[in-house]
């Protein structure tokens, strides 16, 4: 019987249990951050249990960290969560990229960057955007705090195998259309729950032609469509991305030979397939209060079909039939585990170069990791942003969710490269418009979205 790559990786990680019942799975990499881990460590302490495999565990501070004056955490609760992770890592011998450490950054940026994330692995983290790591041809998903403790104590996890969905994407992406638009386009068409109960695999020539960081963006947002895991089969691009990184395998040839077994035999292995013609895609922008409420930039906001739509329109202060090009933007956010990587900053900088953001706009640039920030500075990218009138900040999750002081003010429309446009997500009363880094950069210059395919930037 034909198998998917998810089946093949999954089956190799089963320690105990049959398909159809909870199976005990081995975890190759457990990533931690300060918000969902404190109670898990406390549980270990209460039971006198050590972290079983510190060599397969890695932590960083990302959700709460300030992006200016980083050692001066003013929110006492945030400060305590950050310090607690540091102390827990010290007490239990867990590797940690602490505040200000060269490797610090958003956990989903530093896993790939450090070579911790590798094909064929089973990777978990107490965070729903863990699916990002599936872009390396691995199984990666978010877990709850009790499960974090279970993994810390045993390096294993009880899970039911999901159904498998193939997401076939074919054709050349039009100019001005990016990986962000592919995943936003899928969710806009299929809804925010189409992937519930499934593990998703992206495949097709469009995906093969994507660079690794584009594949990360794609898998990162699969959870916004309900799929707790999403992946792309590994290939030469994957291997070259991993090669030479800090924690990459020393014997790459042996590793690659092992990784090459993880591919989907044929399409009959999927329980469900959805198909997307990339050539027909346009740049997407979200209008409402979940990522499925998004439209191509050349379309107008949809009719009200239900109470949810009405509630969303009330919140975002828009009406049906409006063009998102007419929405007055006052805030810009470049960053997050979705689009805060070097390639994203390069694209935005290429548009902002020699230009200035519109009057009255506040624009924050928050690189996803310190390494990304420092690399960008070496390339002079920081200067382009600063010359354009943007604030160049320290790494972290920042205004994607506003657990730190980076909040978008109430009633303000923000063009954001992040992943969620929920009510209050970026700050109480804030209104988020998700889009690609190129679309956000162009919007920053004009003070409103433009169709970057057609209009002069």
């Amino acid at each position: 019987m034909a198998k998917t790559m998810i089946d093949k990786i999954w089956d190799q990680h089963v320690i105990k249990g049959k398909e159809g019942e909870p199976q005990l799975l081995y975890v190759d990499l457990h990533l931690l951050h300060e918000v969902t881990s404190p109670q898990a460590f406390e549980g270990l302490r209460e039971n006198n249990r050590p972290v079983r495999r510190t060599d397969k565990t890695f932590a960083t501070m990302d959700h709460n960290v300030p992006t200016v004056d980083i050692f001066n955490v003013k929110d006492m609760i945030s400060k305590k969560q950050i310090e607690t992770l540091g102390q827990n890592c010290k007490d239990f011998g867990v590797r940690v990229a602490d505040m200000g450490h060269a490797d610090q950054g958003i956990i989903h940026a530093i896993g790939p960057q450090l070579g911790l994330t590798q094909p064929g692995m089973l990777i978990v983290c107490g965070d729903s955007h863990t699916a990002t790591h599936g872009s390396f041809g691995s199984i990666a998903f978010g877990i709850g705090t009790s499960e974090v403790e279970h993994v810390l104590a045993t390096q294993t996890l009880w899970q039911n195998k999901p159904k498998k969905m193939g997401i076939r994407v074919h054709g050349k992406l039009p100019k001005g259309v990016y990986a962000k638009d592919v995943i936003m386009g899928v969710i806009a068409r299929e809804g925010v729950a189409f992937g519930t109960g499934y593990g998703a695999e992206f495949y097709g020539d469009t995906i093969r032609n994507m660079e690794m960081e584009e594949r990360m963006t794609l898998c990162n947002m699969a959870i916004e469509g309900g799929a707790k895991m999403a992946c792309v089969a590994s290939d030469e691009k994957t291997y070259e991305y991993v090669r030479g990184r800090k924690y990459a395998p020393k014997n790459m040839e042996k590793a690659i030979a092992h990784w090459k077994q993880f591919y989907t035999d044929d399409e009959s292995a999927y329980d469900k397939i959805i198909d997307l013609d990339a050539t027909k895609l346009a740049p997407f922008v979200s209008w409402g209060t979940n990522p499925g409420m998004a439209i191509p930039i050349d379309k107008t906001t949809p009719e009200i079909k239900n109470a949810d739509d009405q509630k969303a329109y009330d919140y975002v202060h828009l009406q049906p039939g409006q063009s998102l090009k007419d929405v007055d933007l006052k805030w810009i956010f470049f960053g997050s585990c979705t689009n805060g990587r070097l390639s994203d900053l390069k694209i935005a900088a290429s548009i902002l170069k020699g230009r200035h953001i519109a009057e009255g706009i506040t624009a924050w640039v928050v690189p996803a990791s310190r390494t990304i920030k420092e690399t960008a500075e070496k390339l002079g990218i920081d200067k382009i942003f600063k010359d354009a009138g943007c604030e160049w900040r320290e790494p972290g999750c920042s205004a994607c969710l506003g657990m730190n002081p980076d909040h978008v003010p109430a009633g303000i429309h923000c063009a954001s490269t992040s992943n969620r446009n929920f009510e209050g997500r970026q700050g109480v009363g804030s209104i988020t418009h998700l889009a690609s880094p190129a679309m956000v950069a162009a919007a920053a210059i004009h003070g409103h979205f433009i169709d970057i395919r057609k209009e002069a930037i």
Binding site: I15, K16, Q39, E42, W158, N251, K254
Partner: protein, 194 residues
Amino acid sequence: MDAIKIFSARSVPLMNDNIDTDQIIPKQFLKNILKTGFGKDLLYDWRYLKPNVPNPDFVLNKPERQGAQILVTGENFGCGSSREHAVWALKDYGFKVIIAGGYSDIFYMNSTKNGVLAIKLPKDQREYLANVPPEQKITVNLIDQKVQINDKEFFFDIDERIKYKLVNGLDDIAITMNMMDEIKEYESHIPDFN
């Protein structure tokens, strides 16, 4: 996790239906970094008139109900948000057994992960328990799956795997720990690329 086999304790009735986890532990208390310490904020909005001022009319604040470890309550207990903090708050307050008409699936599973026995009984039996005098203990016998009071015995159903965990005081981790030989055997076959 403490085992529950036969447990006797005084009870407190809170017979509202649909007590949601937002009521059990409001959102402002979720930033605590421990699983403990939530007990003082359990049912916060009902329990306090304003910060540090207990509502004397609320049943949990009655002197004769102090030290109760069995909560007798209504239908659909623990509905709403999935927050595990709700179970942590009940446990930290001292509740070891909850007797309700039903539970949300998520709350029920969270309770099993924290050694809190969540029993389902029909309304007439719960009303009988709610009228037990505050000083009288109720006995919960998990081995025989029954609640005993005076000459009454109320039998309840429970999943065998969950019962096994609770009777033996095993959390998921303790159960998995018993499979350590198999985990180590698995680990011995993990390919090494270094």
